[in-house]
């Protein structure tokens, strides 16, 4: 594979980029400067034309999202940057914030200019204290350096930007759960419509974009939509993409690659299977993504190819499982996560995630019944599509794929009255 020139992670490993001066020296804030000379609509059109799709999970066109914000009006408008990276397996936004905070600030500022927002909140998960501190420092510098405040880069554009720390709740990564949390409430997702573009933060039109999505924006402005579109699988899957690879690979980490790289190549980049194990399954897009198996090894890792295969790119958090891994145990852990993180307001998610965890736990610990697989599928059916927000669907993803793709393992757990897989001791001191 030809070496790919990193775009979003170009400053990783260059600590000087943490300072405003250092960032500027590498061409930083050039995108913002150019953007301020452009009409808002031009920027939105460029982002639309680039094909940039949301990197948080849903994969919705960023430019389209921006274009939903009503023009004019007497209400303020807001940008909320979703830095609540909590999808299990995902750690790419943390990298971007800890290593290149100004890139994010620049992306946010361009977005605000394009949609007419004068305030941006970067909602960062409470656990990311280091990233929050780095961002705070960068924001301070940006204010002092005339990037933010009453006159952005000497223009008439006024912009305030704040870091807002969450307090530990996965559901706040859901757009409207985040807005509720930002407003000081329990992070319970809202009924939609109305969508945030019309009624968002504090009742005003609001754009919500993921960190990685916004980090792409300065590059689209400086290098053009065509350049962006030249990267990737096809017209609908464009641009550079961060893949966060973890689990049973030799070199777990964040890899920036053209979107749509086949999983096989990604696995190679990450050093192949850990300790020479054999691939059994992988989760291509975070805990919510239905599990794929070794037979899917050549799938391009983009939005549409993965959707076609019955899974999703999600946050592109790739968790790799080798063939000694118990799928029941793994999915039971994810079910526990979704039960823990269900906000509790809607019936199917509150009760369904709880029931699924109980069932899978029972199965893993040897009390499974023959009818459990069918029951799990039935619960999945009653949760999927019926919950208030997408968490219900997310919780169903791994469970449904477990029953459908690994029926033998479930049967074996029932038959053997327990888990047939040995516990491995990988938490050891080097010999």
């Amino acid at each position: 594979m030809a070496a790919f020139e990193p775009v979003l992670t170009r400053n990783v490993g260059h600590p000087e980029a943490l300072t405003l001066q250092g960032y500027k020296r590498g061409g930083g804030y050039e995108g913002l400067r150019q953007a301020l000379a452009m009409q808002a609509d031009e920027i939105i059109e460029a982002v639309k034309a680039s094909g940039l799709r949301g990197r948080g999970g849903a994969g919705f066109s960023a430019g389209l999202k921006w274009s939903f914000i009503p023009k004019g009006g007497d209400k303020p408008k807001y940008l909320v940057c979703n830095a609540d990276e909590s999808e299990p397996g995902t750690f790419k936004d943390r990298l971007l914030m800890e290593h290149d905070p100004h890139q994010l600030i620049e992306g946010c500022a361009i977005c605000c200019w394009a949609v007419g927002a004068a305030t941006c909140y970067i909602y960062i998960r409470g656990e990311y204290t280091k990233a929050a501190e780095i961002l705070e420092r960068a924001l301070e510098e940006a204010y002092r350096g005339g990037i933010l405040g009453g006159s952005v880069l000497g223009s008439k554009f006024k912009l305030d930007m704040w870091v807002h720390r969450g307090a530990g709740a996965y559901i706040c990564g859901e757009e409207t759960g985040m807005l509720e949390s930002l407003e000081g409430k329990r992070g319970q997702p809202r009924v939609k419509p109305p969508f945030p573009a019309l009624v968002g933060a504090f009742g005003a039109p609001t754009v919500i974009n993921n960190v990685e999505t916004l980090c792409n924006v300065p590059h689209i402005v400086t290098r053009g939509a065509d350049w962006f579109k030249s990267i990737g699988t096809n017209e609908k899957n464009t641009g550079p993409k961060l893949y966060a690879v973890s689990g049973h690979v030799e070199r777990p980490g964040t890899y920036e690659l053209p979107i749509g790289i086949p999983f096989r190549e990604l696995l190679d980049v990450a050093g192949g299977m850990h300790r020479g194990g054999r691939l059994k399954a992988y989760i291509p897009g975070g805990a919510s993504a239905p599990i794929l198996t070794a037979e899917h090894i050549d799938l391009p890792m983009d939005f549409d190819s993965l959707a076609k295969a019955g899974s999703m790119l999600g946050s592109a958090a790739v968790i790799v499982l080798d063939d000694e891994t118990c799928m029941v145990r793994s999915v039971a852990r994810l079910a526990k996560f979704f039960n823990h993180e269900s906000c509790g307001q809607c019936t199917p998610c509150r009760e369904g995630t709880n029931w699924m965890e109980l069932l899978l736990d029972r199965l893993e610990h040897g009390d499974g019944r023959e009818q459990d697989a069918a029951l799990l599928l039935s619960i999945c059916k009653n949760v999927a599509g019926n919950s208030l927000c997408a968490l219900g669907d997310a919780a169903v993803g791994p469970v449904k794929s477990l029953v459908e793709r690994f029926p033998d393992e479930i049967e074996q757990h029932v038959r053997d009255r327990g888990c047939p897989f040995p516990r491995r001791r990988w938490f050891q001191d080097a010999a």
Binding site: G247, R424, D429
Partner: protein, 166 residues
């Protein structure tokens, strides 16, 4: 929660905390939006957790019903309703870490500290809990001690980290 009972006027946040909060309040068009920052501040002031009096102090400060504030406190994993140790350890046990031995990290902490999850060591030094994904899956297994991430853990490292906690 215990039975209702009459109590003296609730304590207030310290002057420094109030000043810090006032600066944050200006960022939002509503008072309520300052609630989560206020609770972070209050939790710091009350030694890492939020007793009833801390919740009431915040409720008074932001003019919100105490039940509403408690509803928010109990929603978020980073707000504690019970006393914690001077140092708080959170062990990620979600899938990527589980695949790399997170459960054994927990077990080792139990042995080293001699207390169960969410309990405080007798000397008040430490408490630990298992936690959902902390976004450090590439360095699994990992844990967070106070605000610091400790990654690529080995038994030796865990023992040393615990020993070094003051």
């Amino acid at each position: 929660m215990s039975e209702p009972q009459a109590r003296p006027a609730p304590p207030r946040l310290s002057a420094a905390a109030r000043a810090e909060l006032d600066a944050i309040r200006r960022r939002f068009p509503t008072t309520e939006a300052a609630l989560i920052p206020a609770l972070h501040i209050a939790q710091r002031e009350w030694g890492g957790w939020l007793p009833e009096e801390a919740i009431e102090a915040v409720a008074v400060e932001l003019e919100l019903p105490a039940a509403t504030v408690y509803g928010v406190v109990s929603f978020y994993d980073l707000f504690h309703q019970r006393p914690v140790g001077r140092h708080r350890i959170r062990v990620c046990t979600n899938l990527s870490c589980q695949l790399r031995g997170a459960d054994e990290v927990l077990e080792l902490l139990r042995q080293e500290l001699g207390v169960g999850e969410d309990e405080v060591t007798p000397d008040g030094r430490c408490s630990y809990v298992h936690f959902e994904c902390l976004g450090s899956c590439d360095t699994a297994p990992m844990m967070m001690v106070d605000d610091q991430y400790h990654e690529n853990l080995t038994p030796l490292r865990v023992r040393r980290i615990v020993k070094d906690l003051a």
